[in-house]
């Protein structure tokens, strides 16, 4: 893989709205480089659930990770949290590779916290809100000013005045309030990054907004970073700064939300965006719905060449003829975490951009 290949993807960052709080890279960033997670299956097959991922999440930014179920989102999240060991590549926090001793992991979890998906599953019905939120402090042996820390976490999660919620049980709260308690439980250790796997999937539509608004506010006002895993592109539009589209263990397109969702370039992203119900503004970018046939293949049967080829609408329609040999035989390089604003892993996209550039250069001469 050459550096040229990456730079050919670059595009001036035009049209993207400036983020209100600029992300802070470095000391407290979570990074993945060439991350791989394989699972051995009966019969000697191997599922490559995460198959080479570069990703950065910095304090002060929300990154959405989107893709169909089975593409490896949860495995990636678990690996970033140290709950799953990678079989290749690295996870690092503040530049320090993750170590897996109990002590090192405990220290790491004070910085990078998981927000569980389903508030009714995450909360014990017999524990009060106070106990649910204090649990993290107790696990970490933090004993000074427990009530103060719990109150602070609850009020940061928007449950105010916090003392009024101390003795409440989950069943006495609304669905949105329960999810706030779960988030308070993650905030109590004052982490710099949250990893939220489908944080609102189990909530009613009308209640989702308040939780998403909370995540947005935590980012903007308190500089929290978050990786939000979702199959819902609308959620990314509601809160994320950047989005990574995952397909069969790889990120196939990533960049600022405005660019990726309104001017998608990878055929897979284009198909996903085209079938979104009720999005007239996108009709310009992708006029006709592209309903892909079939389903995501198994992670133990990742096709050679471009992994999307068997379902690629460009190949099916004969529009990729000029690069078909590459689609069939050349895997695409791993997209860098942010070496350019909008990155796409597709031979056809690359060829078209090169043509456009050459054409443009000729005209300039």
């Amino acid at each position: 893989m050459s550096s040229e290949a990456r730079s050919s993807n670059e595009e001036p960052s035009s049209g993207s709205a400036p983020s209100s709080a600029a992300p802070v890279r470095g000391e407290k960033s979570l990074t993945a480089r060439d991350l791989r997670v394989e699972f051995g299956l009966p019969g000697g097959r191997v599922a490559r659930a995460v198959d080479g991922v570069d990703l950065d999440v910095a304090p002060g930014e929300i990154v959405a990770l989107a893709g169909e179920s089975g593409c490896g989102k949860t495995t990636l999240a678990r690996t970033l949290l140290g709950l799953e060991r990678s079989t290749g590549g690295t996870v690092a926090f503040g530049g320090e590779p993750l170590r897996y001793s109990t002590k090192a992991l405990k220290a790491y979890r004070r910085q990078v916290q998981l927000v569980l998906q389903d508030p009714s599953g995450a909360l014990n019905p017999r524990h009060t809100v106070y106990d649910a939120v204090a649990e993290g402090l107790r696990i970490h042996g933090i004993t000074d000013d427990e009530p103060g820390r719990v109150a602070d976490a609850l009020s940061r999660a928007g449950l105010r005045p916090p003392e009024q919620f101390f003795l409440a049980y989950p069943h006495e709260l609304s669905g949105g309030q329960r999810q706030r308690v779960v988030i308070a439980g993650a905030l109590v250790l004052r982490p710099s990054i949250l990893i939220a796997d489908e944080p609102v999937a189990s909530l009613d539509a009308s209640v989702r907004g308040e939780i998403l608004a909370l995540l947005l506010r935590l980012k903007e006002e308190q500089g929290l970073g978050a990786l939000v895993i979702t199959h819902d592109l609308g959620l990314a539009w509601s809160i994320a700064d950047r989005i990574a589209i995952m397909y069969l263990g790889r990120i196939v397109e990533q960049g600022p939300v405005e660019q990726v969702l309104t001017a998608p370039r990878h055929p897979y992203t284009r198909a996903l965006v085209s079938v979104l119900p009720g999005a007239p503004a996108l009709k310009e970018a992708v006029p006709e719905p592209i309903v892909l046939a079939g389903e995501l293949p198994d992670a133990s049967r990742i096709p050679g060449g471009c992994r999307f080829r068997p379902r690629c609408q460009e190949v099916a329609a004969g529009r990729a003829a000029e690069v078909l040999h590459r689609c069939e035989s050349e895997d695409l390089e791993i997209l860098g975490p942010e070496s350019a604003p909008h990155l796409v892993a597709c031979h056809l996209d690359r060829a078209r951009r090169e043509d456009a550039r050459d054409g443009g250069a000729r005209m300039a001469v």
């Binding site: 309104t262 965006v273 996108l282």
Partner: protein, 332 residues
């Protein structure tokens, strides 16, 4: 003749906490070849309404009013007639096909079962052939007839449920959150399939979903339910683009329009939960969550009445909101 009509339907469960009025006075109509969407948060009575059509409610449920299918009242129909109507007159596709399919029987047998039950003189072989043809019709290879449910993906199982619902050529299909658990692409495949059936076969479709963007795409008309009652009804696109009830407006705001700068980084929605049906507030049931409530809202229950549409014109709209009925804006 109207295919399906609910007339002043009430369903009341009796539970350990007392009487639970789950459906409170619903009037709706569905014509052949048309799609009616029913929207609303969980607990607002959508599934109860669906199950009432085929009398699948528990015995403890008290049902009043009428449900007419092709003019015949389903609620007073004898069991023999009702058995015939299930599958041939109307069928339901539920969410979570895993629970509705029998884990120990092959797919083909399960799809063939209603055919064998309802068509006199059909041989098991013919029924099996029909089942395979149905599987192909919903986009599954006929070889899937020999699979067991656990060997299929969620999307494939949902297709099997649709194949079963089609088995006896019903006039009406009720899809209760039939695509909710599916990924966008599989959801698009299933929605395409369902919409195709409506246009090709002229079946009537009742599509129940909490996802307004899905409903506005698939349905001709939408009824929004809140606490057991319809609070707004009208052409699908209109109801979400220009809501005439504060609750439909809040539901619509919960689904951002990708590409629309107005919804970028502005998650919308509504705080709080739907009311507990055992303890409904006085007056308008939406009042505790309503940002535009006026004094009258706490005293009287608003009826579902015609309201001025967009700019006072446009197609007929009905809303159960005093403020909308005055022609005032329903969002602050």
């Amino acid at each position: 003749m109207t295919l399906l009509e609910f007339k002043d339907l009430h369903v009341t469960y009796t539970g350990s906490r007392g009487r639970i009025p789950a459906v409170r006075g619903v009037d709706l109509k569905v014509e052949s070849g048309r799609t009616l969407g029913i929207a609303g948060e969980s607990g607002c009575g959508k599934s109860t309404l669906a199950m009432a059509v085929l009398r699948l409610l528990p015995k403890s449920a008290e049902v009043t009013g009428e449900i007419l299918l092709n003019g015949e009242d389903l609620l007073t129909m004898g069991w023999g007639r009702l058995r015939a109507v299930r599958w041939t007159g109307a069928s339901i596709v539920f969410q979570g096909a895993m629970h509705s399919l029998n884990a120990v029987h092959r797919i083909g047998r399960q799809v063939a079962e209603p055919i064998l039950l309802h068509e006199e003189g059909i041989s098991p072989n013919e029924a099996a052939e029909r089942a395979e043809a149905l599987l192909e019709r919903v986009g599954l290879p006929s070889s899937r007839a020999r699979s067991y449910p656990h060997e299929l993906s969620g999307g494939q199982r949902q297709r099997v449920m649709i194949a079963m619902a089609l088995a006896c050529d019903p006039d009406l299909i009720i899809a209760d959150e039939a695509t909710t658990a599916l990924d966008v692409m599989v959801q698009a495949q299933v929605l395409q399939l369902i919409s195709g059936l409506v246009t090709e076969r002229g079946v009537g479709l009742v599509m129940i979903s909490h996802d307004l963007s899905v409903l506005s795409e698939v349905c001709d008309e939408v009824a929004v339910m809140y606490a057991g009652s319809v609070v707004e009804q009208g052409p699908a696109h209109e109801v979400f683009a220009n809501a005439r009830h504060p609750y439909s407006a809040a539901l619509g705001a919960a689904f951002p329009v990708i590409g629309d700068p107005a919804s970028r980084k502005r998650p919308g929605g509504l705080a709080g939960d739907p009311p507990d049906p055992v303890r409904l507030p006085d007056g308008c049931a939406f009042r505790p969550r309503c940002a535009v409530a006026v004094e009258r809202c706490g005293e009287e229950v608003p009826a579902l009445l015609a309201v001025p549409g967009a700019a006072g014109e446009g197609p007929a709209r009905v809303s159960a909101c005093f403020v909308a009925q005055e022609g005032e804006p329903v969002v602050v």
